[in-house]
């Protein structure tokens, strides 16, 4: 709640008795992102020690774990803000599969222009997000249950629709259908190709040895996915820490009743956050289908879980009212680096979960200590 009260309190005078003096060091120590920062440093140190010459820190390796981390980040930003507002969304993973599939059906099967399909998909998914929120608010049921229902509903449609319409569960041909589309370019495509060509020409990164792309750099730009992740993290961070709406999010998740009493439109905040989570999932889905050119019924399986893990590693509180978007982004980075890095370190892939569990536990314990220091609870 420290962050929440910052904005609404009047600018303190030097001698305001209500404001406690805190040293700069302690201030730095009690940021909610501290756990994430410590974890990030620890994880990178670990992999630099054990996997430095494995290709993990060459251009291609860096791009690989960056993309995976960026994926986690996109959904973690939505999940983080929603969790701070006191709610969960378990339908994120199914939403990813669903959004990709209906875009594919509308564009490839029904022949709509790609930009129309994309906009309609966003509209439908945001509406479902709003519906999630509306049901939670109206019924007073835990969002855990309501969104669990949507996990199944959306996954069911994602399998049923293409099977009924096309008699298969993967719809391809999206890349061809998106050719030259102005809106699809925002989700597919790369940024900064010239820079990587320059790096390749100067021998700073590896180039293709044969085939039609011989001589071109193996990494040919920063994928739109990473750009989206950065934009969403910055947007979420500013929204949460620099605006009145951000304070409302904290208040809605901290104590909804007293927030209502002090005039915060709690219902509106929560529904908007459900919609934002749906937005993030749809962005994820769009980046995925335009990169890979197909939508499949199995896309996004268990991603809701991964989003929540990233947020929790990043220091947010499961009960709401506390957390930070930067922390969630660092959590996503840790998750991505660990998941991909263990391979480079040559660890048996089934042990990945053991490692992830240890990190999750360590992060949560550390975060609890930090929170106790901030709030003074015992």
């Amino acid at each position: 709640m420290t962050e929440a009260t910052q904005g609404s309190a009047p600018t303190p005078d030097a001698a305001d008795e209500r404001v406690k003096e805190i040293s700069g060091f302690r201030k730095a120590l009690i940021r909610p992102e501290l756990g994430g920062i410590v974890g990030t440093v620890a994880v990178f140190t670990f992999f630099i020690l054990f996997a430095f010459d494995s290709g993990m820190f060459a251009a291609q390796g860096v791009m690989n774990w960056s993309i995976v981390s960026a994926q986690f980040m996109i959904i973690a930003v939505g999940a983080c803000l929603l969790m701070i507002a006191g709610e969960f969304d378990l339908s994120v993973g199914s939403m990813i599969g669903f959004a990709g599939m209906i875009t594919a059906i509308m564009s490839v099967t029904m022949g709509m222009p790609m930009w129309v399909a994309i906009l309609l998909t966003f509209a439908i998914c945001l509406a479902i997000g709003a519906l999630n929120g509306f049901i939670v608010i109206r019924t007073g049921l835990p969002s855990f249950i309501v969104t669990l229902a949507f996990l199944f509903i959306l996954r069911g449609f994602t399998i049923y629709l293409p099977q009924t319409i096309e008699n298969k569960t993967i719809i391809g041909g999206i890349r061809e259908a998106a050719e030259g589309d102005w809106l699809a370019g925002l989700f597919g495509g790369n940024v900064g190709e010239w820079f990587f060509v320059w790096l390749g020409n100067n021998g700073l990164i590896q180039t293709f040895e044969r085939g039609s792309r011989a001589g071109q750099p193996v990494v040919d730009g920063i994928p739109a996915l990473i750009v989206w992740a950065i934009i969403l993290v910055i947007f979420g961070h500013i929204l949460l820490t620099r605006t009145r709406f951000g304070n409302w999010i904290f208040a809605a998740g901290g104590d909804a009743e007293s927030a209502r009493n002090s005039g915060v439109p709690v219902n509106r905040v929560k529904i908007l956050m459900f919609m934002f989570t749906a937005f993030c999932a749809t962005v994820f889905a769009m980046c995925q289908i335009f990169e890979f050119g197909s939508a499949g019924a199995d896309r996004g399986l268990l991603k809701e879980f991964e989003a929540i893990i990233a947020v929790v590693i990043g220091g947010a509180l499961l009960t709401g009212g506390y957390g930070s978007v930067l922390g969630a982004a660092l959590g996503a980075l840790i998750f991505g680096v660990v998941q991909q890095g263990l391979f480079f370190a040559g660890v048996e892939s089934s042990l990945f979960r053991v490692f992830l569990g240890v990190i999750l536990l360590g992060a949560v314990i550390l975060n609890t200590y930090i929170r106790r220091m901030i709030t003074g609870e015992r």
Partner: protein, 316 residues
């Protein structure tokens, strides 16, 4: 808090140490990575792991197995990119979704990494991504062969129990089977899920709702084992024509009992073993078989089950 951090670091190091030492043991020789599309829950792939382990040992190369834990093909694409970035001598991979995987695989080929497609995909697709060869069982053809055989054995109306509805290549078997029988697929393909109790009860429900079904096709042990139980429960075991893909302890036993007419063996052991041997010989001596290798379909019936029984689920 410092001491807590120290403890956490120590704990992580203690846990990590055995993992590290286990993998650097045989870092000599070539290194190959096998990437599959199978989720962790799919036990069929154990045979694949046994296959690459034995080949690695015999040929003296290092072989790693990677898969997306949930079976998400987009995650699999990332794993291939990751394998490429780690600079192996060769990659053995399935081609579960051509659209998704063609990019990462052709990138690997263009960087001078030899690729062999195994298990899933078609010889044509393997050629298109620039792979050396395809080792496996063409799914539609195998289903078609199964359909032809079932037709000659009197099947007219069938149920296809599909436990992997999200993987289109597996469903190709049902389509091939229907075409081999010469009937419409229609609603005959059932999305059974992967939970044994659910599969069993769905099969029971379907059979009581559709009494004219006289043939069943299951697509692997995941769907076959509960289906065997279902037939034992409703008394149709041995009465209804039952064919399945793949083998396993329970399937072999059911073939012996007469519950299952035949199993179609695509020989996962060979799908894993041969690519490792081919790649190693290609890297060392430049020799390469001139064609794709069909590891299946082979029909396994009650005749000559001994060896199969001994190694079912391990090397067969």
């Amino acid at each position: 808090m410092k001491s807590l951090l120290a403890k956490l670091t120590l704990a992580a190091a203690v846990i990590a140490a055995p993992m590290m030492s286990a993998t650097v043991a045989y870092a000599e020789g070539e290194r190959y990575v096998l990437v599959s599309h199978a989720p962790d829950s799919d036990s069929w792939w154990n045979t694949i792991k046994n296959g690459i382990a034995l080949a690695g040992e015999q040929v003296g190369v290092e072989v790693e197995y990677r898969n997306p834990p949930t079976g998400d093909i987009a995650d699999m694409a990332r794993i291939i990119e990751q394998a490429v970035a780690s600079g192996p001598n060769g990659i053995i991979t399935t081609l579960a979704d051509f659209d998704v995987l063609q990019g990462p695989i052709s990138d690997a080929v263009d960087q001078g990494i030899n690729v062999i497609i195994m298990n899933t995909g078609t010889p044509e697709q393997a050629r298109e991504v620039g792979a050396l060869m395809y080792v496996g069982q063409p799914e539609y053809d195998a289903g078609f062969a199964a359909g032809l055989r079932a037709k000659s054995e009197g099947v007219t109306n069938f149920l296809c129990v599909n436990h992997a509805i999200q993987q289109p290549t597996v469903g190709e078997r049902c389509r091939g089977y229907a075409d081999g029988l010469g009937v419409e697929l229609g609603d005959s393909m059932m999305d059974s899920g992967t939970d044994p109790a659910e599969i069993k009860n769905r099969v029971l429900a379907y059979l009581s709702a559709n009494p004219d079904v006289d043939g069943i096709l299951t697509l692997g042990p995941v769907s076959a084992n509960p289906t065997i139980q279902a037939l034992e429960e409703n008394g149709m075991a041995g009465d209804i024509h039952f064919g399945t893909f793949d083998l396993g302890d329970e399937i072999v036993q059911a073939i012996k009992d007469g519950t299952i007419s035949w199993g179609i063996d695509q020989q996962p052991f060979l799908q894993a073993y041969l690519p490792v041997v081919v790649l190693a010989n290609y890297d060392r001596y430049g020799v390469l078989p001139g064609n794709n290798i069909n590891s299946g379909p082979g029909f396994v019936t009650a005749d000559g089950l001994e060896k199969i029984e001994e190694f079912a689920g391990e090397y067969r």
